[in-house]
């Protein structure tokens, strides 16, 4: 389940990196023993647990959808080294009283880093459990003071085909744009991630700063953000613009609403063989379902 820690957590309280690496060794050993124990395959395959064990670091950083570096799952890890994450600024602008261009190091220094362990459910029906480091998006938005005209938030990824070779092909309209309703953006679960597994965010995972909205399909969690704009109208988001019948603006994880071409009822947790049931709002219904009270979720998919 979700683990949240206080906003006033000290740097020293964040899980030490060596712990993670030890943990990985442990997972490796555990995996080896599990393989050895696979001889009586039957019961092991039948088990369909919802235990939320962390997805190994290697999987989180080698199996990515980040079309700016290629459409293959292994392309981002191979190609993202060309991304320059310093210097890096994030402009927060639009319907705000105090627009501001933040330097990434300023963000890292002035907002305490929190650890959040979230499930990530891809629209392609696979999922992971990832320990992120970051700051609530609300903390950043509060600094710029959204005006009463702000109803939505638009996020934009870097557009530079030199650094992002995938942008040389128009497989999607570049730059990648995503959006949230203001109340979704201000929700305490919504995170701006700057790291994972206690480390700096790897380039292939959206360095230096990305969005994480755990109750929505992964494509909403836009990577390598350079601009955040508060606006009065619903932003034109990338996947929604490319294939409107398949990818909606809301994109809340919902086992009851299938993708037109495949089922969303179940998902394969990376590292497991058997698929497991997908939960409404990816298991965060208690926290977020009220945001959509009265909305027809099969229409606003």
């Amino acid at each position: 389940m979700l683990i949240r820690r206080g906003h006033d957590m000290k740097e020293s309280e964040v899980t030490d990196e060596s712990f993670y690496w030890n943990r990985r060794d442990f997972i490796g050993t555990a995996a080896a023993s599990a393989l050895a124990a696979m001889a009586p395959l039957g019961p092991w395959l039948v088990r369909n647990g919802q235990d939320d064990k962390l997805t190994p670091y290697d999987s989180v950083t080698s199996y990515n959808n980040f079309y700016e570096f290629g459409t293959g799952k292994d392309d981002p890890e191979r190609n993202a080294h060309t991304l320059q994450t310093r210097p890096w600024t994030v402009a927060v602008e639009g319907e705000v009283s105090k627009p501001k261009v933040f330097d990434i190091d300023e963000i890292l220094k002035s907002f305490p880093s929190e650890e959040r362990i979230y499930r990530l459910r891809c629209v392609e029906a696979w999922s992971m459990v990832i320990p992120w480091l970051g700051l609530p998006l609300a903390s950043l938005l509060n600094v710029v003071e959204p005006t009463s005209r702000a109803r939505f938030v638009e996020f934009v990824t870097l557009h530079d085909p030199e650094q992002m070779p995938g942008q040389r092909r128009n497989v999607l309209p570049w730059p990648y744009v995503e959006g949230l309703r203001l109340d979704e953006a201000m929700h305490p679960l919504t995170l701006l991630a700057t790291g994972l597994y206690g480390k700096t965010l790897p380039n292939q995972n959206g360095a230096p700063i990305r969005l994480v909205v755990p109750w929505k399909y992964g494509f909403k969690s836009i990577k390598s953000i350079v601009r955040i704009r508060l606006v009065g109208h619903q932003p034109r988001t990338t996947w929604n613009a490319a294939l409107p019948h398949e990818y909606g603006f809301y994109a809340n994880v919902n086992p009851a609403v299938d993708h037109p071409r495949w089922s969303q009822k179940r998902e394969r947790r990376i590292g497991k063989i058997r698929k497991q049931d997908t939960l409404p709002f990816n298991g965060y219904a208690e926290e977020v379902a009220s945001l959509y009270a009265g909305m027809d979720l099969s229409r606003y998919y």
Partner: protein, 200 residues
């Protein structure tokens, strides 16, 4: 060495072995851990694309014979066709066992509801009788003409396979378009030939 013996003892065994390299490669990657974090997806995709590729290679044998005038090459059709069927059986078995866990209702719902699965499943079903009637004995039993008519269904299966691939890709259709283009080229060669044979 004459052409017959060259085909029989060198070309055919070499092509048969070559058509099995991808499965050896996949087994190797599986054993040494070269697959991605989602190995079931890798196995599904690789058996599927190789099955389709080898199927298209099977269909290109007849035009190749025509272009080269080397009639013995027709002997390549059977091993290639069976190799394609082998990959596609693995592809289907992966779906059956590792995706649906032998859930008959799950498979039924999936195949009925998802057009890319309907067409993929149908194409695989079409290939089953073709594989079963691939022996010399069966050719004799059916009679050459009837056998040839039955085996023309391979074009339907190949077209279904290409459509299955086109429909399942999320947005980057480069790879299935390559397969579709090759199939269209093969069909044009085939139909062009037939038209010329008609009395004018």
């Amino acid at each position: 060495m004459n052409r017959y013996r060259l085909t029989r003892w060198v070309v055919r065994p070499a092509v048969t072995i070559a058509s099995l390299i991808p499965i050896a490669w996949l087994l190797w990657d599986t054993v040494v851990g070269n697959l991605s974090a989602n190995p079931i997806e890798d196995i599904t995709h690789r058996t599927g694309t190789w099955g389709l590729a080898v199927l298209l290679a099977t269909l290109s044998v007849t035009p190749l014979v025509r272009v080269t005038g080397w009639s013995h090459l027709i002997k390549l059709r059977r091993p290639l066709g069976l190799s394609a069927f082998f990959y596609l059986s693995l592809h289907f078995a992966t779906y059956l066992a590792l995706d649906q866990f032998f859930s008959i209702s799950g498979i039924f719902n999936d195949v009925v509801k998802r057009p890319y699965l309907t067409v993929g499943f149908t194409s695989f079903c079409i290939l089953v009788p073709l594989a079963l009637t691939s022996t010399n004995k069966m050719v004799k039993r059916l009679g050459g003409k009837r056998w040839a008519r039955l085996h023309r269904l391979v074009y339907v299966a190949a077209a279904g396979g290409v459509l299955h691939f086109l429909w399942l890709v999320k947005i980057d259709k480069r790879e299935p378009i390559i397969y579709a283009s090759i199939l269209v080229l093969l069909l044009v060669l085939r139909l062009g030939r037939r038209r010329r044979r008609l009395p004018g």
